[in-house]
Amino acid sequence: MTLARAEGLRWVFRFAVGTVTVLLIVAASRVNWEASPDSESELRLSWRYVSPTVEACRPPTDQELSGLPQHMRPSEICEGGPIPFSLRIALDGQVLREGPVVGGGERAISIYERFDVTPGNHDLAVDFWPDTAEVPLPEGLAQQLRRTVPFTGGRAILLTLGELGFEVRNQVP
């Protein structure tokens, strides 16, 4: 074998080694992975709700006014705040979540829940109601859903609260 031929073969070998090495890197950039099995489905609840505020106002007492400078004396004192709410989620009669939901201070209530569900038809029961003894409350605050919902493997069902009440979605608008 001549020197030139040997050198030529060496260059071919160099490119072959480099090509295979980069091939391994390229192959590792497209690996199949089952992030979640197709046998799973999911229920998601997501909405943001600005709770109405209930306040009871009264004139201040002399004692309350006496401790304040003239320019800081209010004409009336209102007590109250956003109405607390509670949420109950049940699937086929089994309660998944039940309890109060709060927004933190004066902020809106933010609901975000995820539950793994076996594909198939399931009876979904959701209640979202003002949980307070204060009376009277504005009408139409409590929301309720009772529906049989089909869950498909590999898909999520989203329950959200719009102006017209609960909406069940299986497609992104």
Binding site: R14, S29, R30, N32, W33, A35, S41, Y112, R155
Partner: protein, 516 residues
């Protein structure tokens, strides 16, 4: 820690030797790992500029699909962009492993280590935003899992995962922010890269041209032969089942889906803290810590060679406080890594680490010659402790004179060995791009053959001197070179010792020498 280093050193040095056989040390990609990261970033920058022309934040998946559908340009440019991103991660990991087992992580090099970790973090964040830009199933996974991780932190008043719950498509501001980060982060990378190399002189940012074009060519080849397709577009109400993911940027997904976010954050923070603390863990005990170089003022002639040769810019020239008209070298101990290359650069032997200055080396070699008494047919092996000659196992029967780095070796030592009657001097050095002190073999070659200070004097017979670049696991190469050199030396005839060697003449400066 030392057992981890030993294991890594064993594996990597064997890989080095294997690739040296294929590519030679000049083009061994493992020796160019840092510059390959920069090459990958440059490729991403150029291809990214093209992709940016077509990306639309209002319809991200459609715009990427349009680019991918361009058969002559967009398809392979997009693939080249992605494959370069993967190469950047691989090369950065190789670079970090090399620096770790070579002990180049503590002291003055701690800044390079920590800034390197930060650069790798930026590469990952940039890669995350790049994959999300495509808005396919992998992007959906990365976005949702990233949001889930961020929600575990007490930052947001509402969970940001709600943006990906399926109430509506992600808003355009999300893609705008993503694109902004993807473009802004590389600008930050430029700054981090500047910091990363700020403590080295003459940083080599790109690989040699044959390797540069070879790597680019192979990446281009696979971009054309196996381009990245357009995968299934993201559907927020679809649970990502079989998804195609990039192992280099999505390796954390299985953990994020299996572990609680708090636990994953704990693991990430712990890993980051451990890596950042490596300069602390790898720092030798005070008794074993190599001492920085120092300049002996009475010997310094102000020639500036040590200042020029120092691979870490640790030496500056300052005004003297005596009546000599030239400047004095001053070593900054905070920057000096004690490689000793300054000692090899100094003709009057006025600088160097303790016990490794030129004068110390002459004392050592004098004792070596008295002990070993090399004959006129003997070849003395001067071996860098990190080269193949470091173990000494392949040179039985050969007198071995060890050095910590061939850059530290003063040419007067070589001259003394030859003129003391040794048949030949074979210097075993690490391949220049693998020198643990960066420039040792380069300066040695210049001093022996190209009159760089402190040059080997013309009176020394060059036929009796040879330099071989043999990496740690290339003992076979060293053995063959030793045999070959012995045969050459035998043909030259037996060397005889000079009777009139005056060490004082060799190492004391003339009183009339001054700054150049």
């Amino acid at each position: 820690m030392s057992s981890i280093k030993k294991t890594l050193r064993y594996v990597v040095t064997r890989l080095d030797a294997a690739l040296n056989r294929v590519y030679g040390w000049r083009f061994n990609p493992l020796y160019q790992s840092g510059s390959l990261v920069v090459l990958a970033l440059v490729i991403m920058l150029i291809t990214g500029l093209y992709l940016l022309l077509f990306y639309r934040i209002g319809s991200p998946a459609d715009s990427v699909a349009r680019v991918t559908a361009q058969p002559w340009t967009g398809r392979w440019i997009r693939s080249l962009h992605r494959y370069a991103a993967d190469l950047a991660v691989v090369a950065a990991a190789v670079h970090a492993v090399r620096m770790f087992f070579q002990g180049r992580t503590w002291g003055p090099r701690a800044l390079a280590w920590v800034s390197g970790l930060f650069l790798l973090f930026l590469i990952y964040v940039c890669g995350w935003t790049g994959y999300v830009m495509v808005w396919d199933l992998q992007a959906q996974l990365l976005a949702m899992e990233g949001a889930r991780l961020l929600d575990a932190l007490p930052i947001f008043s509402q969970p940001i995962t709600r943006a990906f719950v399926g109430e509506a498509p992600p808003p355009s501001p999300f893609f705008f922010l993503n694109l902004f980060l993807h473009i802004a982060i590389p600008i930050g990378m430029a700054g981090a890269l500047w910091l990363h190399v700020s403590r080295v002189a003459r940083p080599v940012l790109l690989p040699p041209r044959p390797l540069l074009w070879g790597v680019t060519g192979i990446l281009f080849f696979w971009s054309v032969a196996w381009p990245v397709p357009m995968y299934e577009i993201a559907d927020l109400l679809s649970l990502p089942g079989d998804t195609t993911v990039d192992v280099f940027y999505s390796f954390w997904l299985p953990f994020s889906r299996a572990l609680p976010p708090g636990l994953l954050w704990g693991a990430l923070i712990s890993a980051g803290a451990l890596l950042t603390a490596i300069p602390f863990f790898t720092r030798p005990a005070p008794d074993n810590r190599p001492q920085p170089s120092y300049v002996e003022p009475r010997f310094c002639t102000g020639c500036e060679q040590c200042y020029v040769d120092c691979p870490y810019d640790a030496i500056s020239m300052v005004a003297r406080d005596d009546d000599r008209g030239y400047e004095l070298g001053l070593v900054d101990p905070a920057l000096c890594v004690s490689c000793g290359i300054c000692a090899g650069s100094c003709a009057p032997m006025g600088v160097g680490p303790p016990l490794r200055t030129g004068r110390d080396q002459l004392e050592d070699v004098t004792q070596f010659i008295e002990r070993q008494a090399p004959s006129g047919s003997d070849v003395v092996l001067v071996a860098c402790s990190r080269s193949a000659g470091g173990s000494g196992s392949e040179a039985r029967g050969t007198p071995i004179y060890p050095v910590t780095c061939v850059g530290n070796l003063h040419t007067s030592v070589v001259e003394y060995l030859v003129r003391s009657g040794a048949g030949g001097v074979l210097i075993a050095a690490c391949p220049p791009r693998d020198c643990w002190s960066r420039e040792g073999p380069t300066w040695l070659d210049e001093r022996l053959y190209h009159d760089r200070e402190a040059e080997l004097k013309a009176r020394v017979d060059r036929r009796r001197i040879r330099v071989v670049y043999a990496a740690e696991a290339e003992s076979g190469l060293l053995s063959r070179e030793l045999q070959s050199f012995r045969a050459e030396v035998n043909q030259l005839g037996t060397a005889s010792a000079d009777a009139d060697i005056d060490l004082e003449l060799i190492c004391l400066p003339s009183e009339t020498e001054g700054a150049r």
